[in-house]
Amino acid sequence: GDSVTQTEGLVTLTEGLPVMLNCTYQTIYSNPFLFWYVQHLNESPRLLLKSFTDNKRTEHQGFHATLHKSSSSFHLQKSSAQLSDSALYYCALSEFNYNVLYFGSGTKLTVEP
């Protein structure tokens, strides 16, 4: 079945340094949709980025990610971390009909001054 792997459970960074959160996936579908959701404390997850186009960079709120089907990856990046970026980040995959999402285990990002 479909699965999403986020290798880092916890990432701690100093403000101003670049962010990279890893996401790889497995699916039998040739055209998966990949998402990044951000969840702040006591809130529901909020969509940050999404993509279904191979090798095309997608950006939002300073974050960017590129879906690489050759390596089944959709890593999240940001050039300079801000304190307000501290949150849980979930990578998720959907099949063609977007009805359900399969979430990775999540990465807790903590940005320190």
Binding site: E43, S44, K50, S94, N99, V100, L101, F103, S105
Partner: protein, 114 residues
């Protein structure tokens, strides 16, 4: 815009009792509603997918007998947690999708079991 409401936001129930939670889509027609559970310190697990005019599909480890779902129209869905025990605690999210290419999540119902 598209919004999803969930009620209640937080609930406490005694071990062995049941509780019902609701999900309402506003501003769009929810042709499908997926229910997820986030257990403490864990990720989101898909419980079931409910699509109007189709049978509800439950994921492995989740059953209709334990989590019956109702999806009577394009704006409303409800799920009941029957005989709740400690392992059922967590944040229950509904994700509703209409014609757009993404799911909109409600704020969740946080279930505490005593």
């Amino acid at each position: 815009g598209a919004l999803v409401y969930q009620y209640p936001r937080r609930t406490i129930c005694k071990s062995g009792t049941s509780m019902r939670m609701e999900c309402q889509a506003v501003g769009f027609q929810a042709t499908s509603v997926a229910w997820y559970r986030q257990s403490p310190q864990k990720t989101f697990e898909l419980i079931a997918l409910s699509t109007v005019n189709s049978a509800i599909k439950y994921e492995q480890n989740f059953t209709q007998e334990k989590f019956p779902i109702s999806h009577p129209n394009l704006s409303f869905s409800s799920m009941t947690v029957l005989n709740a025990y400690l392992e059922d605690r967590g944040l229950y999210l509904c994700g509703a999708r209409g014609g757009q290419d993404t799911q909109y999540f409600g704020p969740g119902t946080r279930l505490l079991v005593l």
